[in-house]
């Protein structure tokens, strides 16, 4: 049985080429790896090596032939024990198979599907009627980590100044004393490196909590977060898992300038394979961080420095955990829906108070989870109020509010009585001067104004 040597494709896009030169002639013995001919593509001349061994029985395409289609036979080899004359007589199988790549079926649908097949949103947590404690967001985060670390020895915390310094923002206060330096680890200031190291530890069976002093610095680590942490489960066909939490303050603090004041919510929310959470209250912080640590997926946990010192009531229960993917209606109302996350929830609630004085009854939704996104809760609210204002600290272009607007077009178009209005940070790097910074960030007045506008007031 003679062996056909086929015209190879030498790049992902090549369909034909020129057979520039033969390095063998009829009767030559050919070994695996031996260069047998040269092929010219539109980009380069490349050598073709034999894969099979044998003796050249017939050259089917002469030197200098142009436009030789990929996968057409170019020569015949006589296999061991076969006569060259016999093999040479064997007609090449025609027609040559066409390259598989050209047979690729058209995309299943030209319409961009919604982010994921709709999954029923998880149940909201039951209303807490038990005892509560009044704690700061900072303490709630620390308690969440400590409680989970007591239960699972594979959980550890690493980051800059998390151990001996007790946390740059004192979030990890006391953890080194309780858990020791094996589990509470100060890192060098090398975000790219320790984010990747954390991913490797998660692949290796641990459950890291990686603290970024702020998410501004995580931009250096973004390749590891997205390419390594978020995509590997999929790229491995489900074999690999990466249970890791990347947490730290996100967004503007107070007059720290443009490089230290960015909101990354929409950046991470864009990425399949990640969960993205943004707590507002201490109860959010505790319940969601515990959920994040328990989750088997990579989780981005966006905190806010200005909220660390604010106190809220938190259920006094070590098993208090919030569902991931569920927004919370913080204030019920019938005239307009205001959707916000993180520190902007507080501003939205302030705005709602002011609006109430003006006779507008606003419903305030705390998103809590940006991926998955609780479209259902928002749509149900819009069906009631018919008006929607989105509030975020980050930039407006391609922000969370943009996505929210698109989702309302898709899911609530017929219920809207006014276009969705976005309140967002101004489209400039955040300035340092106190007055300019205040102008650049959304304030409750801006929210009031937007709500009045969608209510035609």
């Amino acid at each position: 049985m003679s062996i056909s040597v086929l015209m190879p494709a030498l790049s992902p896009t090549m369909t034909e080429g020129k057979l520039a030169k033969w390095h063998v002639k009829v009767g030559d013995a050919v070994k695996s790896g031996q260069v047998i001919c040269e092929i010219e593509t539109d980009k380069a001349t490349m050598e073709v090596e034999a894969v099979d061994e044998g003796t050249v029985a017939q050259i089917l395409v002469a030197e200098g032939t142009e436009g030789v289609a990929v996968n057409s036979p170019i020569c015949l080899l006589a296999a061991e024990g076969e006569s060259v004359a016999e093999a040479g007589k064997a007609a090449p199988e025609a027609p040559a198979p066409t390259a598989r790549r050209s047979e690729a079926p058209p995309p299943a649908s030209s319409a961009t599907p919604s982010p994921a097949p709709s999954v029923a949103a998880p149940q909201a947590e039951p209303e807490w009627s038990g005892k509560t404690v009044h704690v700061t967001v900072r303490e709630a985060l620390r308690d969440a980590m400590a409680e989970e670390m007591r239960k699972d020895g594979n959980i550890f915390l690493m980051g800059e100044e998390v151990a001996q310094y007790q946390g740059a923002y004192k979030v990890s206060q006391g953890l080194l004393e309780e858990f020791g330096d094996k589990r509470v680890i100060d890192t060098p200031i090398t975000e790219h490196g320790f984010a990747g190291l954390g991913v490797g530890a998660a692949f290796g069976g641990l459950r890291p909590i990686v603290e970024f002093m702020t998410f501004n610095f995580a931009m250096q680590a973004m390749d590891q977060i997205i390419n390594s942490a978020a995509k590997t489960h999929y790229m491995s066909g489900g074999q690999m898992t990466c249970p890791i939490v990347f947490r730290g303050p996100n967004g503007a603090a107070s007059r720290v300038g443009a490089q230290h004041s960015q909101c990354y919510a929409s950046w991470y929310a864009h990425v399949p394979g990640l969960r993205v959470l943004a707590p507002w209250s201490a109860a959010d912080a505790k319940g969601l961080l515990k959920a994040a640590i328990r989750d088997p997926n990579p989780v981005i946990f966006l905190e806010n420095e200005l909220l660390y010192g604010q106190s809220f009531d938190v259920p006094d229960d070590p098993d208090f955990v919030l569902p991931i993917g569920k927004a919370k209606i913080e204030r019920a109302g019938g005239d307009v829906t205001i959707v916000a996350f993180s520190i902007m929830v507080g501003k939205a609630l302030q705005a709602a108070e002011e609006l109430a004085k003006q006779g507008i009854d606003a419903e305030v939704i705390n998103l809590r989870s940006l991926r998955p996104f609780d479209t259902e809760t928002i749509v149900n609210s819009v069906k009631k109020t018919n008006r929607l204002v989105s509030v975020e600290e980050g930039w407006p272009f391609a922000g969370i509010g943009s996505e929210l607007s698109a989702l309302m077009m898709e899911h609530a178009f017929d219920w809207l009585d006014a276009p969705v209005k976005r309140v967002a940070g101004l489209d400039v790097p955040l300035p340092y001067a106190a007055n300019l910074e205040r102008m650049a960030l959304p304030q409750s007045d801006n929210i009031v104004e937007a709500a009045r506008a969608v209510c035609n007031r």
Binding site: A99, A195, G200, A201, L206, N227, G237
Partner: protein, 350 residues
């Protein structure tokens, strides 16, 4: 009895923080005749597998990027012989050889190359993204250098879990200039993590030679700033690799921290399938192929020592050819992934 190997060129860098590295002892007879034969077999499997992958690429059955390991076989085969089943391995996108050397099924690897459901990643990863938890092979990473912090993290997990396992973290001369590599080396040395950094110096990062990319070309010394001992090894000689590997693995396993091995090797093919490799001369390539080929070298050694005869080698050739043919058959007949697979494995429990 194996003929004592020639002493490879070994340049040691004693680190201040550790005991001075001794030179490798490639002739210490720690390699049995059976092992030598298995090295030959493993290298030949990689060679024939890669040649076939190149052919399937040429037929349009493999798409995208495909980086072949031909020429570098001695590195991974020598190194893998120094570790145990529970040790972890991670590498870049030139990864088919590592997977075969880890004992992964050639059928599953080839079927991943063709993007079929029988592939290790169910066809969703491709050439650069394959994994095997069973074999402790952690990929297959497509971003230059990204596997180095991850491999260091695997070493972190090994130490945290309290065992004696080590992480073999392979990367190329191209990665050796990546910032994250040095961030990882610093932490590995700081925390004495059991990781062996294996720099496969095949002399070109895509089309840029080491001399044109690295301010200092003694890559084995690139951990010097962190006190990491390093050694330059003849990566075309599987026994030299084995000897250096044993020492490095023992160092890491003992708790003394990381170790760097710079393997001087050569890839015969272009960077990827579409690279005509015009940045080097034909003479240079031919010189390596004809004079330094790791498989020819070991074949001759086996014959000279009387451990095998031509007939026995022919039997091995036929066996390997059969394995590769079966892998190629499987890879062409395994069905494409079901459309439902599009939405699976994005998140767990979602």
């Amino acid at each position: 009895m194996a003929k004592p190997a020639e002493k490879p060129k070994v340049e040691s860098l004693p680190a201040k923080s550790t005991s001075p590295a001794k030179s490798s002892r490639p002739g210490d007879n720690s390699v049995s005749a059976e092992e030598l034969k298995s090295f030959h077999r493993s290298m030949l499997l990689i060679r024939r597998f890669e040649e076939r992958a190149g052919q399937l690429y040429g037929m349009g059955l493999i798409g995208g990027f495909c980086h072949l390991y031909i020429g570098q076989e001695a590195v991974v085969v020598g190194m893998q012989s120094t570790i145990g089943d529970a040790d972890s391995v991670i590498t870049s996108y030139r990864d088919h050889g590592h997977m075969l050397a880890c004992g992964m099924d050639p059928k599953g690897v080839m079927a991943e190359l063709t993007g079929r459901s029988g592939g290790y990643s169910k066809g969703k990863g491709g050439s650069m993204h394959m994994f095997s938890r069973d074999k402790h092979f952690y990929g297959g990473h497509g971003i230059v250098g990204a596997q180095v912090p991850i491999g260091t993290g695997l070493a972190f997990a090994h130490k945290y879990q309290g065992g004696k396992n080590v992480s073999l973290t392979y990367f190329g001369d191209g990665s050796a200039n990546q910032g994250q590599v040095y961030e990882a080396m610093n932490m590995a040395a700081l925390w004495k993590l059991p990781v062996i950094y294996i720099i496969e110096n095949n002399r070109y990062g895509m089309g840029t030679s080491v001399e044109r990319a690295s301010a200092t070309t003694e890559l084995y010394r690139h951990g010097e700033a962190f006190g990491i001992p390093g050694e330059r090894v003849d990566g075309m000689d599987v026994l030299a690799v084995r000897a250096a590997g044993e020492k490095a693995v023992a160092h890491a396993r003992s708790g003394a921290g990381p170790y760097i091995l710079e393997m001087q090797t050569y890839r015969y093919r272009g960077h990827s399938m579409s690279d005509p490799a015009k940045y080097r001369t034909k003479e240079e390539v031919d010189k390596y192929r004809n004079e330094r080929d790791p498989i020819d070298h070991l074949r001759k050694r086996l014959l000279d020592a009387g451990l095998v005869d031509e007939a026995a080698l022919k039997v091995v050739d036929a066996e390997i050819r059969k394995i590769v043919n079966e892998a190629a058959e499987f890879a062409q007949h395994s069905p494409e992934p079901d459309p439902s697979e599009l939405w699976t494995d994005v998140l767990i429990g979602a």
